[in-house]
């Protein structure tokens, strides 16, 4: 399946785009998404940390990603 990953902050700089298209196996987990992202964008590994959000909620590594989910990469937040 092809999914869109939204990017913010430093992740947008690393992708050089506000979002990217990614090819994943059906029902991939967050963990496998992060692995695939880091293969294509090794600079992600230099971040302090980053989380994945699915449909506007923080996701766990074992959570599944489905075709129409809104997926976003959340680098360390720094609001306020």
């Amino acid at each position: 399946m092809t999914i869109t990953v939204l990017a913010f902050g430093v992740a947008k700089d690393i992708f050089n785009a506000p979002s990217i298209q990614l090819e994943l196996v059906n029902d991939a987990t967050v963990m496998s998404l992060k692995y695939t992202l880091e293969q294509q964008y090794p600079r992600l590994k230099q971040l302090s940390s980053y989380l994945i959000a699915i449909n506007n909620e923080y996701a766990l590594p074992e959570d599944y990603i489905h075709q129409r989910d809104e997926v976003a990469i959340i680098p360390p937040v720094s609001g306020g």
Binding site: F8, G9, V10, P75, V77, S78, G79, G80
Partner: protein, 144 residues
């Protein structure tokens, strides 16, 4: 989004924030005190001169996370109203990126909840800050 019937008021905007409006919004006849936290853009970080900041939000998720914080505050302390406003875009030194306003019958709840809300916002709400220096720019907290 002004929700006059709701005791929670959450906003993310690229327009300047209004301290007077915010403190007035949380005022309630039952309130004995209002606590307002105003975040301001500081002119330096770790000794380096900061020229300006830029804030970016994952708007839909940030609104939800801010609402969750407000609800959690209501669950922990006896409060009347909670307001959380955050600004996005480019801000100059002295401008206001965030306002938290809390009203309660007694000051202890207002102080404690206000502190809890800004501390939690900084940890969980998907908003990012870029610092602009004379010789470069950096996303805050991105790298170790």
């Amino acid at each position: 989004m002004i929700m006059s019937s709701s005791p929670i008021n959450i906003l993310i905007t690229d327009e300047p924030l209004d301290v007077t409006n915010c403190s007035q919004w949380v005022m309630a006849p039952e309130s004995g005190g209002i606590n307002v936290f105003i975040g301001t853009v500081r002119n330096a970080t770790k000794g380096r001169t900061v020229l300006r900041l830029e804030f970016e939000a994952y708007q839909t998720m940030a609104m939800r996370e801010m609402e969750k914080i407000a609800i959690a505050a209501f669950e922990q302390w006896p409060l009347q109203k909670v307001l959380i406003h955050h600004r996005t875009g480019v801000l100059q030194v002295g401008e206001i990126p965030v306002i938290i306003a809390v009203s309660a019958a007694h000051r202890d709840a207002a102080f404690t909840a206000c502190r809890y809300i800004i501390d939690t916002l900084k940890q969980t709400v998907p908003i990012w800050k870029k610092e602009f220096f004379e010789d470069g720019e950096v996303w805050v907290a991105a790298h170790p």
